[in-house]
């Protein structure tokens, strides 16, 4: 490939790094979730956007929360485990069982997200992409096939009508 071909090809995925992170995600997930191996995993994140307007200065501030998202098709359960971009640790898992949640749907606007309402009081909106390059903000993992499988599961077996 010529110089210009490489120049316009765009960023390439470092598969070794992605595989290593996928392994770490599995280790962390299995550490906090019972029978973790029965869940398939993707990386997702939440966004908390706060807008401000102080006279001349206005804009928005976004907080990103990284998540290891596991799903078990037979149990129709999604588990979200908070983590950090370098996967040095994780928090406590939260379980969303289809039979117990209030509603779940895929949002298209303003962002493409998987939204779950466990009850009337709150909700979680999980954003997920095939790959995100910014490893300071997101977990560096390539997950095209897994994301397609999760989307299929969410849309056909988890989302409420």
């Amino acid at each position: 490939m010529g110089f210009f071909g490489k120049l316009f090809k765009g960023p390439e995925i470092d598969q070794a790094k992605s595989d290593a992170n996928a392994k770490k995600m599995r280790l962390l997930f299995n550490q906090v979730v019972e029978d973790g191996d029965s869940y398939r995993l993707i990386f997702g994140y939440t966004e908390d956007v706060s807008r401000f307007n102080y006279g001349f200065v206005h804009g928005s501030k976004t907080k990103i929360g990284n998540l290891i998202v596991g799903w078990n098709e037979d149990r129709q359960t999604i588990v979200a485990v908070p983590t950090v971009p370098d996967l040095s640790g994780c928090g406590e898992p939260t379980y969303y069982r289809r039979g117990e949640i209030l509603k779940a749907y895929r949002n298209k606007y303003p962002t493409d997200a998987f939204v779950i309402y466990p009850d009337k009081r709150g909700y979680i909106a999980i954003n997920a992409y095939d790959w995100l390059e910014d490893e300071k903000l997101y977990v560096y993992v390539s997950q095209e096939a897994e994301l397609a499988a999760f989307t299929d599961f969410f849309m056909h077996r988890f989302a409420t009508k």
């Binding site: 392994k23 770490k24 280790l27 962390l28 550490q31 906090v32 401000f52 102080y54 006279g55 001349f56 200065v57 501030k61 908070p82 996967l87 040095s88 640790g89 994780c90 928090g91 406590e92």
Partner: protein, 67 residues
């Protein structure tokens, strides 16, 4: 408009933006502290990444130690 006036105008805008940001961070910081005091939550447990299981024992001990 003379260059000096344009420069002063730009400088004034920079100062306004800087003061605005300072004001924003002060207010946000105070609000966060107040929220932290009012809505005290117990710290969430944090689990560090477990040590990876040791790789399979190398059968060839001489590997990489030729010198």
């Amino acid at each position: 408009m003379p260059l000096k006036e344009i420069g002063l105008m730009l400088l004034a805008l920079v100062v306004i933006a800087a003061v605005g940001h300072l004001w924003f961070h002060t207010v946000e910081g105070l609000l966060e502290k107040i929220k932290g005091l009012l809505l005290r939550r117990p710290p969430q447990p944090w689990h560090p990444l477990p040590e990876e299981p040791e790789e399979e024992e190398k059968t060839d001990r001489g590997e990489g130690g030729g010198d």
